[in-house]
């Protein structure tokens, strides 16, 4: 099962449509999508507007791979579980977000081999073909880096 998620804020129909086209071409039906309040409904697999945190975590745990926008929440949860993740960054010019910040996030994580990134739409089908065999590099602990925890702890204890 491939889990498609666009997060909780604005819809991301462009991603859902691209994945739906891929599923149709490859004859895949074993996908599930969380699509927000988007107007595009996938034809080849089931979808739902929103998931509770518990449902989201269950979908993440049970899936073979994740396709998503480049939100930090989705990236962190996929890395925690060691799931292969392919992201398509949202574009401000398409009204998908208010700034192009997802590009920076995606480029950073893709450059270190932790996720796959489709910079352009036409890269997405090919990357989806190989997604389930992609193994993210490194692993993620359950909390922030020791350096950050120490710095915040010092602020808590010493006030600066």
């Amino acid at each position: 099962m491939i889990f498609v998620t666009v997060g909780h804020q604005t819809p991301f129909d462009r991603l859902v449509r691209l994945v739906d086209l891929w599923a149709g071409e490859r004859g895949r039906k074993d996908l599930f999508a969380q699509i927000g309040e988007g107007s595009y409904r996938p034809a080849h697999f089931p979808s739902q507007a929103f998931l509770s945190p518990a449902e989201f975590d269950a979908r993440m745990q049970g899936c073979s791979a994740v396709v998503a926008h480049a939100g930090t929440g989705t990236i962190i949860k996929a890395l925690l579980l060691g799931k292969p993740l392919l992201v398509l960054p949202r574009l401000a010019a398409q009204g998908e977000t208010r700034s192009d910040h997802q590009w920076g996030t995606a480029r950073h994580f893709a450059a270190s081999g932790r996720i796959l990134m489709a910079e352009y739409e036409d890269e997405l089908p090919g990357l989806m073909d190989g997604l389930e065999t992609f193994r993210p590099s490194g692993s993620l602990g359950t909390q922030a880096s020791p350096e950050l925890i120490r710095r915040i702890r010092a602020f808590v204890e010493e006030g600066k």
């Binding site: 997060g7 909780h8 804020q9 509770s52 945190p53 518990a54 939100g71 930090t72 929440g73 989705t74 990236i75 962190i76 949860k77 890395l79 208010r98 910040h101 997802q102 920076g104 996030t105 480029r107 950073h108 993620l140 359950t142 909390q143 922030a144 880096s145 020791p146 350096e147 950050l148 925890i149 120490r150 710095r151 915040i152 702890r153 602020f155 808590v156 006030g159 600066k160």
Partner: protein, 156 residues
């Protein structure tokens, strides 16, 4: 002002909006072990993730929704008056900005951690909140500066 509780535990209000902001907030909370922590966010279903800690919600709002933002600001201020935390910590966005700004005014120490999502420049809320934050952190070394935020690691 009730900065600490009986027993001398620091009262902390941890604030974020939804999605990645909340997940990033959860990952720094181990730094507050031993404090009395209350949470403020925008989604009621996050309550299940904080055990029995006091948990509050405000309406979600962005800067494209002035009326929603005003309502959110009033609610955040009201909660700060009720709780009187000694320390406010946030990962953004809008409710965190209000909490840092009003928290500072009410005498709390304030910590803004700009989201991991802001690689190339600070978030708008983060840039505005910096002057009210006693500790202003970015998660990207390239965004750190003497007048701006400090870099001290990432939530990953």
């Amino acid at each position: 002002m009730r900065i600490v509780n009986r027993g001398g535990r620091l009262r902390v209000l941890a604030v974020s909006s939804g999605g990645g902001h909340w997940i990033e907030l959860m990952r720094i909370m181990p730094a507050f072990v031993g404090c009395d922590i209350a949470y403020l966010t925008v989604r009621a279903d996050y309550r299940s993730e904080v055990a029995d800690a006091p948990f509050y919600t405000v309406n979600d709002a962005t800067r494209w929704n002035p009326l929603g933002a005003l309502l959110q600001a009033v609610r955040v201020y009201w909660l700060l008056l009720r709780l009187r935390p000694g320390l406010v910590v946030t990962t953004g966005a809008a409710p965190g900005y209000f909490a840092v700004r009003f928290g500072k005014r009410l005498g709390a120490r304030t910590l803004w951690l700009d989201s991991l999502a802001n690689v190339d420049r600070l978030s708008r809320a983060g840039a505005m909140a910096g002057r009210y934050a006693d500790l202003w952190l970015t998660q990207w070394p390239g965004l750190a500066s003497a007048e701006g935020p400090e870099y001290a690691g990432q939530v990953v």
